[in-house]
Every structure is written in C-alpha cells, then in structure tokens.
C-alpha cells in the first residue's frame, strides 16, 4: 500500500484531536500513514533532555522502587472518597435514560407528551431536540440517533427532580420502531446478503467491513517458507465479547455558570479529552470548560472519552438551567458502554526440524459492534512482536454488527491475539516434539522491533519465562497431556509468552512542580488517576527527582482547571510519558534550587553552599555537597531565600532510535473435575518486565488486577446474545460471570514476579504495567486445561459445557 502524504497542518490537527490520540495509542495500524507521520513529527520535535538538566540527575534513588500505599487509600477505605456518582449539588436534577429493546430499528415516531406532563419532569431529550453532532470516537454516532444500531442503545433522556420520577417518565415515552434486519456475528455480517449496517456514513465502511481495517505487516515470503517447513500447523481460535463491568457506571454531573462557563464532574480516564470534546460540542474556548475526576470507580478503557453521558448531562443542564446528574443504570452500562470485541483468528505456521519458526500467518476478523467504534487492527500487536518470524503475513478485518459499540478494554486487542497465538504455539510445540517452555525460549523475539528494525529499549522476556517457570516448578510439574489423573481430578499446567506495546508508548505530556517555603512539594501532574496508583507514583518520581522526603510531597491531579495537560490514562502510558514529564519538571525545579543554593545572597553576599550547582545534589529534603554530604542545608531554606515558592515545569522527552515494548509470561496450574467439568485455578504466576518498578506495591496490585481480568476472560466472562432477537441476555452481575475472589488463587499461589531490565527511555528505567499482565492468563489456563484433560478447546471462555463436551470425546462415553 502506497503511503499517503500527510501535511504538517494535518499533523498538528491530529495531535490536537483527543480521539486521534486514543486511536494512535491503541491501534498503531489504523490510519497507519497518519500515525507514522505524527510519530516522525514527534520524534523530530520532542525536545531531548537539555544538558543543564542532564547534569543534575540524582546520583542514587531513595524513593523509586519502594512499596508505597496509594495516597487515596484512606479516603477510599473509609468511604470518604467522592466519586462522580457521589456528587450532589444544590438544585440538581436526576436523569433516566430510555433504551431500545431492538437490535436494529428506525424510530418512526416518539411521543414524549405523557412524560413531559408528569409533575417533576423538567426536560426530555430525544434525537429530535438534541444537538445534531456526530460524536467523538465512533464517527457515525450522534448524541442520540434516530436509527438504532444495538439493543440497549440510548433513545431518550429525562431530567426530573428525583430519579424515581425520571424513571417513571421514561416509561411513559411511547416509541414506534420499525424493526430492521440485524446481525450479531462478524463473519455473518461480512457474508453476502447480510443486513446493511454501513450507516450511510461516508468513508467509514465498505458494506459492513470497516474502512479502518488494514492489510498489515508482510515480511519475507510466507508461502514459500511455509511450503518448505518441516512441521506445519494451522487452527482457528475465537474469543468472546467482554464487558468492562466497572463498579462505577458511566456517569457525569454538569453545572453551567452563565452561558459560557461549564463544569463537569465526569467518570473519565481523560479529563483533558473530555474538556476538548465538550468545548467543541458547545463552541466554547477550552479554558471555559472545567472537567473534574478525582476518584475513578473503574475505567479499564471504557471511559477514555465522554461519549454520550457527558454531553447528555451538559445539554440537559443547559436546557433546564439546573445542575444535572447522569448515571447509567446497570443494564444500560452493560449494553451501551463499550466492550472488548469478539475475535476469530485463523493461524498458520511452519517450523524447521529444530522447532524454529520459519513461517507465520494470521488472519483475524473482529466484531466491532455497532458504529465504527474502536475495533481496529490491534489484535495483531502481540502477534507481530512476540515471536521471531522472518516470513510472515498478518491481517485483520473489522466488521460492523448489531452488538453494542466495541472499545478499548485493558490491553485492547492483545488478550484476543495472545489467547489465539499462544494456544496455537503450544500446539505447534507439541507437533515439533518440544516442551512448551523450550519452544518459547527458542522462538521469542529478544532483540528488535521486527518491522521498524529498531532495537528494544529493554527486553526481559527471557527472564520472565525463566523466572516464571522456576516459580511454578515447570520442569518438575509439566507432564504429557492427560497423564496426571487421580480419581475424578485431572492436573494440568500451561504457559504463555507475551509482548505488547502497552506500557512502552509515549505521547506529549506536561507537568509542573511547586515547592513551598516550608519545603513541601506539590507534584502538579497531567495524569487522570483511574485507581491504578498513578498519582502516587508521580508523587514518588517528583519527590525523588527534586530530592524531598516522600512525606513532604503531595500530588495534584484530576481537575483540568489547575493541572498540566496530557493525553489520557490509557495504553499504560502514564508511567512512561507522564512519569517522564514529572521527572523533567522535577529536574527543572532542582536545577533552580541548586542555582539558588550557590547564588551569593545578601546581607553577607555569601551563598548557602559553596561550589557550582553541578557540585551539589539533593535528597531527603536537603541540598548537599556531593563531595561531602555533611555540608548541607535544608531545601526549605533555599526556597525561603527566594522569598516565595519556586516552580519547575517540563514536558516528556523520548530518545529516538528505539523499539518500544513490554514483555510478560504467565504460568497456570489447574485441576479439572472430570465429573462436573469444573476448572479450578490452583496457582498462577505472572512474570512481567516493567523496566523498573517505581512503586513495587503498585506494580504488584496492577499485575494481580490485570491477571484477574485475564482469568475472567477464559473461565467465564462472555456477553451472550439472543439468537433470533440479537439482544444481549446476560447484562447483569448475576449472569455475566466475572471471577470473584474465590475463582482466583489465594495470594500465596498468585505470584507476581517483577522483572527489571531497566528501560533506555522510561523515567528511572520504568515502563508501564497496567495492561500487559491481562493477556497471558487466558492462554496459559487454556493450555493447562489441555495438559490436564488432553483435549484442546480453542474458544474462550472455556466454560463447563465445552469442557464436558471435550471430555465426552475421550472417556466415560
């Protein structure tokens, strides 16, 4: 495919578009030319760390690497934290949202008169009276649509004095639907004769195939290499539609101050993105919109933009001149919030007699759901980078269907890709007559980004595999499939190797640092803290860099009115990019402190410390002479000597010339009950290359949380759709089987291993970790189930019905 010419004007527009940032972060092959152009631009324009700041980098680390409890923990544990859903303002109205029972329908008539007549109702919003604006990510989606594209879609919103009145009024709205043909299967949607879901939006889809689908990477010659391979294997693998199931649903509270000042409390991962979106919706300067999200009750990718809820709240608030609160109910949140898209991947590979991968091909179809949402080309991210393959062909097609809109979910396409890839690799290893661990060690890519031909900025995949294998006892425990059955219980062990881009990516971000006369440090960051300990970690990096004690530092975050600017908290990129900005701002402030400490001061015209700035360092709240640390003054004295607080500022820096990636391995041990098909996860070891752990406790928590989501993906989670009606049936906690604490191993058997090779780019060598541990559990557990019962199951989730059907093939009739 010929590269498009992207102008500098277009590059600057793209850089300013929050939705482009999202797509670029999550799906580097959609708009590949645009993204490449933006990347080149960023590489060329991102400042290198200036010499004077390079000279004041700390000599040793005192804070980075410690175990620190999140700063918000006391508030959260005592119930005092104010989440978006807790915000109550005087005079605030409550909103109920009516949804469509049909998967695909045209609203022929909508009668809101009875709802409007109900006492206490203040406004009713439908597609007729809402701003006609194509919104954000899915470019063919309006704030409310006349044509409904999925069951559960928002149809109307009612604002009333209390939620009960609002709900009753929503029930009084009479809608006449013309039901249209629908489809909830991606392969069926792409087949001839499928219902047309193209939405008529220009340039979005050809038929039901999204225009964003891309023919992807080609290396060498797959066909020739495959034809000549000694060992060949192919298979088809499927993953299901998964929900984020955030405890806090989508929510926003909007408050207008006069006609052109708007404050919105939003449950979001991206306060600056929501600010930009709402400014566009209402034609306001961005500085007139304030977005606040101090505490987040679960984002996991769903809340990367404000989508409908923030706009509905702000429009109703403007109509009624009252503060308005929108909180999705659980059914709406399951069905209308985004989800991880179902994917089917066909894999084909050949290996030589020694088990070395010679040819590798992947063809994926992903179910983007309704609207041209975020299902792009990201299933391939782990496939193109985990294993070394010189002859390869990777391709992904995305289809529109009448499932809800897909979106980003923790590690985005990688759990789908890695699930398929690592069951496949296990099978290939068996065909090649190799132990699964040896096969991975022989085939993982350890040196370069194979397509960009750039050396990894760090790579700990071999250590992940070796340390993880040691921790679970791989060499002692692995056995032939089906060879460890005692009574009605079968034991199995399995593993996964994984690499992805999450945690290694960088986008423009800024930070500020303010130190007061008492020596206390305010780390003013751009991060939206989504519960992953981001603000605490930024505080650690800030305190470390400036040289104050951790207890004298404080993070400021979560309010667009007084924090720095950034991209959102997604792609696990806050450590790499936000952390880099905080570090540069810290070095800037430190440089100023050292200047001040060596400056002659009145009345004696003597400096606080002798020597030049570069002779000094800071730590534990003091400035001291590197040569003689006993010669020191408190930082607060230096600050006080200026008469006021001191400030530093910074933007992230990226050294050019590196490939960026994170790496992981997962090891699972299971017990399968041959009578009932129950799968018990006995032990799980997650080994993750995090570059360097900034907050060791935070890293462990992220590995545990992400692993639990990966466990859910294979042991039970799946949105199910009614066959004839194409509507979801299990949209609640009861029937959407997220794992509970009883489905995950107890802590002693749930082992995070932190691998720290040190990254050439990340602050203090760190990379992000919020997402990469999500991918390995599902294939590791699937491989362990195979090892236990000797029957392969290719489709996630691996539920009781599939296990029992598998067992039926081999024993007890």
């Amino acid at each position: 495919m010929k590269a498009k010419k992207i102008t500098e004007k277009r590059i600057l527009e793209l850089l300013d578009d929050p939705q482009f940032n999202l797509i670029a972060a999550e799906s580097p092959w959609a708009f590949a030319d645009e993204i490449e152009a933006v990347n080149q631009y960023l590489m060329a324009t991102t400042p290198k760390l200036p010499e004077h700041l390079r000279a004041v980098q700390p000599q040793q680390t005192r804070i980075v690497g410690r175990r620190v409890a999140r700063i918000e923990d006391p508030d959260r544990l005592t119930g005092q934290a104010i989440f978006t859903t807790d915000v109550r303002l005087p005079g605030m109205l409550h909103t109920a949202i009516l949804h469509s029972p049909h998967a695909h329908a045209l609203i022929e008539n909508i009668d809101t008169s009875a709802a409007e007549a109900l006492p206490g109702v203040r406004a009713v919003l439908t597609y007729k009276n809402v701003l006609k604006e194509r919104i954000g990510g899915p470019p063919d989606m309006f704030i409310l649509n006349q044509e409904i594209h999925f069951a559960g879609e928002e149809v109307a919103a009612v604002a009333a004095e209390d939620i009960h009145t609002a709900r009753e009024a929503a029930g009084l709205i009479r809608v006449t639907y013309r039901v249209l043909p629908s489809v909830t299967d991606a392969e069926a949607a792409l087949a001839p004769g499928a219902p047309d879901l193209g939405h008529g939006a220009e340039g979005i889809a050809r038929g039901n195939q999204l225009a964003m689908s891309y023919p992807l990477t080609k290396r060498g010659n797959f066909d020739t290499a495959y034809a000549g391979a000694a060992v060949k294997h192919e298979g088809t693998y499927r993953t299901s539609t998964l929900q984020h199931a955030t405890l806090e649903p989508r929510a926003a509270v909007a408050l207008w101050h006069g006609p052109d000042q708007l404050t919105v409390w939003a449950s979001t991962q991206y306060i600056m993105g929501v600010r930009a979106e709402l400014a566009t919706t209402f034609g306001l300067p961005r500085s007139h919109v304030r977005v606040i999200c101090q505490h987040m009750g679960g984002g996991f990718g769903d809340k990367s933009s404000s989508v409908r809820q923030g706009r509905i709240a702000a429009i109703l608030a403007r109509m009624t001149q009252r503060p308005v609160r929108v909180e999705y109910d659980r059914q709406l949140n399951f069905n209308a919030a985004s989800h991880r898209y179902a994917t089917v991947v066909k894999l084909q590979a050949g290996a030589d007699r020694g088990g070395k991968l010679a040819a590798y091909r992947a063809d994926a179809i992903s179910d983007s759901g309704a609207y041209a949402a975020f299902s792009l080309a990201d299933v391939m991210v782990s496939l193109v980078r985990t294993y070394h393959a010189e002859n390869a062909h990777f391709q992904q097609v995305s289809a529109l269907t009448n499932r809800g809109p897909s979106g980003f979910q923790r590690c985005v396409g990688n759990p789908q890709g890695t699930f398929c890839q690592d069951i496949f690799m296990d099978e290939l290893a068996e065909k090649a007559g190799m132990d699964p661990l040896d096969f991975r060690l022989a085939n993982v890519e350890t040196k370069v980004d194979q397509d960009r031909k750039l050396p990894w900025a760090s790579c700990g995949i071999v250590e992940c595999l070796q340390e993880g294998a040691k921790a679970i006892g791989w060499r002692q425990k692995w056995h032939k499939p089906g060879a460890a059955i005692t009574g009605s219980k079968a034991h199995g062990i399995g593993m996964t190797a994984h690499a992805c881009a999450h945690g290694s990516m960088a986008f423009p971000m800024t930070a500020m640092m303010k130190i007061d006369r008492d020596g206390s440090l305010d780390v003013i960051q751009s991060t939206t803290d989504i519960g992953g300990g981001q603000s605490t970690q930024m505080m650690m990096i800030g305190a470390e860099t400036v040289g104050v004690r951790l207890e004298d530092a404080h993070p400021s975050y979560g309010d667009s009115a007084f924090t720095a600017d950034s991209v959102g908290t997604y792609g696990s990129l806050q450590t790499m990019t936000g952390g880099s900005a905080v570090r540069v701002a810290g070095l800037d402030l430190k440089w100023r402190i050292l200047q001040q400490a060596t400056k002659p001061l009145p009345p004696k015209n003597a400096p606080l410390l002798p020597g030049k700035p570069e002779d000094l360092d800071t730590g534990d709240g003091f400035v001291f002479l590197k040569a003689d640390p006993s010669k020191r003054v408190p930082i607060r004295d230096v600050v006080a000597s200026t008469g006021g607080p001191m400030m530093g500022q910074g933007a992230h820096t990226i050294p050019a010339g590196y490939g960026m990636s994170t790496f992981a391995a997962g090891f699972a041990e299971v017990e399968v009950d041959l009578d009932t098909g129950d799968v018990r996860l006995l032990r799980y070891v997650a080994a993750n290359d995090v570059g360097k752990a900034v907050n060791r406790l935070g890293v462990e928590q992220q590995i545990e949380g992400a692993s639990s989501m990966g466990i859910g993906m294979v042991l039970g989670e799946e949105m199910k759709f009614d066959g004839p009606g194409n509507f979801p049936v299990n949209w609640n906690w009861e029937n959407y089987a997220m794992p509970t604490v009883l489905e995950t191993p107890k802590w002693a058997d749930y082992k995070p291993i932190i691998v720290e090779p040190g990254d050439a780019i990340g602050p203090y060598g760190a990379k992000g970790v919020g997402e990469p541990p999500t991918s390995p559990p599902a294939p590791a557990i699937a491989n362990a189930i195979y090892n236990a019962i000797g029957v392969r199951i290719h489709d996630a989730p691996i539920t009781r019905d599939k296990v029992l059907a598998g067992l039926a093939q081999i024993r007890r009739g």
């Binding site: 009932t676 199910k720 049936v729 299990n730 089987a737 509970t740 009781r800 019905d801 039926a808």
Partner: protein, 323 residues
C-alpha cells in the same frame, strides 16, 4: 420503584388477611422481592412484612421431626448444629446459597417461594414472556443454557432454590397458613410445573404463606448430601445440583435423589431411586444410577451439558454416600 403500602402484621392470621387485598406481596428477607419490584416484573401495591411475627424463625426438634420456621435465615440453617446433624444435605444446600450477605438476610420460606431466574423473564424488555402474561417463550429458540431438560411447557425456567432440592431428597413437608388455617403439603407437591400453571412455581394461593418446614424422622439423621455446580463458587444459582439421601447400609433399602436446575420443579430421579433399592453402592451401581438419573431428558439448543453435569453430580453424591 413505584410507591407501595408497607404493612407489618404481628400474627399469621393478620398477615393472611392483609394479603387478601389487591396486588399484595410477602416480604421477609427481601432479597428476591425488591429486585422484582425494581424491575417492575410483578405489579405490587402492598408489601406485607412477616418479620414482626414472633416465633416463625425457630429451628427445633419436635415430635421426632426436624422443624424449621419459615423465617429462619439461610445463614442460620447453614451453621445450625442441629441441621448439620439431622439433615446434612439441607445444611449444605443452605451454605451453597448466594453469598454471606444474602444468606444473612434471606429466609427459608423466601428461598422456597422465590421467582425463577430465567434471563428472559427477568428482562423488563421481554414483556411478551408467558410468565408475564404474554404468549411467547424466548428460551425455546434463544439462549437456553439456564433452562430445563425436563417438564418444560410454556415455560422452561428452572427452579432456583437450593434448599428445595435438599428438602425434596429429605421428603420434607411444607406447612402453609391461609384464611382457613394451616395445611401440610409434601415438598414434591408444593412445587408445580408449567403444565399445571406456568404463572406460578409453588402451590400457594395469594393469601397463603409458608410457616414451617418439617423433615420426617424417617429421613432425618440418615446420611444425606447436597452438591451444586455453578459458574462461580459463590453467588450463582445452580446449573446443576443434586440432593441425595439413603436408608440402609451397606445394602440400600430406600434412596431419594432430587435434581436441581434441570426442571421447573425439583426433579426426583425416580428411575435411579428404584434401581438402587436392595443394592450396594459399588462403582458399577453408582455409574448406572447416575446414567438413569437423566433418562428422558429433552435438551434445548444450549443446555445438553446439563445431562453430563447432572450425571457427574449424582455419581459424586452417591460416591460420598458410599463412604
């Protein structure tokens, strides 16, 4: 939720009288009713709260029987030494219900009389379901993994109660109070299938309440077990369960086996029971009894797995009773 009248009677007679007017519903723990009211599944003008009636929560031995008041909490059943000793299957079933919070609120009477969990019935958007006065059953052509292998008719929803399965294996009787006083009904007659009346699951008139549950001396203190399989270890309703009790060792004189989550009511495995009489519980006998348990099953599109699951559970239950 719409407004409703809340009444707090202090005697069974008073409660029954209050229930005879309008769309009145009984509430005790509220773990099922409140969800139903929020989802608008049953019109409700009046809620009659039984919690102020004294003496209805007693777990005791009386006339040689184990007797349990309808207001006894599920959590108390699970931890009662008397129940554990006299009716181990019932204690195990109570412990298998939901989560600690729900067990601490929910009562035995409520657990027996709860509405079905069919995801179509519980979806307010599917108002044409037979059970909601409509004329369609979505499960027949739709997603049927929750649904019945046996005895489905207009409705294929399965009985959700774990304690019912144990009580069926223990030959319990249910004491029901109404305007004309009390009546006793055997547990297997207390539950009614859709062939009889698809609008209700239990033989309770609108103005009747469960007051007591009695396990006869013949079956109390006999070895009994309850096993349940569900997607998760807690919270979930059963996808398969079995209650089993036997009299006689090593030769079985009489066996009772009741299956859960496979029919609209607790489903007695009568062929297995008959087969086991006069036999010893060896591996071959157990295997055959398990196979007989699902004789006559008619699976829908997604629930055939319940055949194998139920057989596996019966195998495990009988294996436990054998040791």
């Amino acid at each position: 939720m719409k407004s409703f009248e809340h009444m707090s009677p202090t005697s069974v007679q008073e409660a029954v009288k209050m229930l005879s007017v309008g769309n009145a519903r009984v509430i005790a723990g509220g773990t099922d009713l409140l969800g139903i009211m929020k989802d608008g599944l049953l019109p409700t003008d009046r809620v009659v709260d039984l919690k102020a009636i004294p003496g209805l929560d007693k777990i005791r031995e009386e006339s040689g029987e184990l007797r349990i008041g309808a207001l006894a909490r599920i959590g108390d059943l699970a931890s009662s030494a008397l129940v554990q000793q006299k009716a181990p299957a019932l204690a195990a079933a109570a412990f298998a219900v939901a989560s600690p919070q729900i067990r601490n609120a929910g009562t035995l009477g409520g657990n027996l009389a709860q509405k079905v969990r069919c995801w179509y019935y519980r979806d307010a958007d599917r108002a044409d379901c037979y059970k909601r006065n409509g004329s369609y059953c979505y499960a027949i052509f739709g997603q049927s993994e929750l649904h019945a292998l046996f005895d489905g008719a207009a409705c294929f929803a399965v009985t959700p109660s774990d304690t019912a399965i144990a009580l069926s294996a223990l030959a319990a009787r249910i004491v029901v109070a109404g305007p004309k006083g009390e009546r006793e009904v055997g547990v297997d007659d207390f539950f009614i299938g859709p062939a009889v009346d698809y609008m209700r699951e239990v033989a309770l008139a609108a103005d009747e309440i469960i007051v007591d549950v009695r396990i006869p001396s013949t079956w109390s203190a006999q070895p009994s077990v309850f096993l349940k399989a569900a997607p998760r270890k807690a919270i979930d309703f059963a996808r398969g369960s079995v209650g089993a009790a036997v009299i006689g060792s090593p030769v079985i004189q009489k066996a009772r086996i009741s299956l859960g989550a496979v029919a609209p009511t607790p489903k007695r495995a009568t062929a297995s029971e008959a087969f086991l009489e006069g036999k010893r519980l060896d591996a071959a006998t157990i295997a055959k009894a398990a196979e007989l348990a699902t004789e006559g099953a008619k699976p829908l599109a997604n629930n055939a797995y319940k055949i194998r699951l139920t057989q596996g559970l019966v195998r495990q239950a009988l294996t436990r009773l054998a040791s």
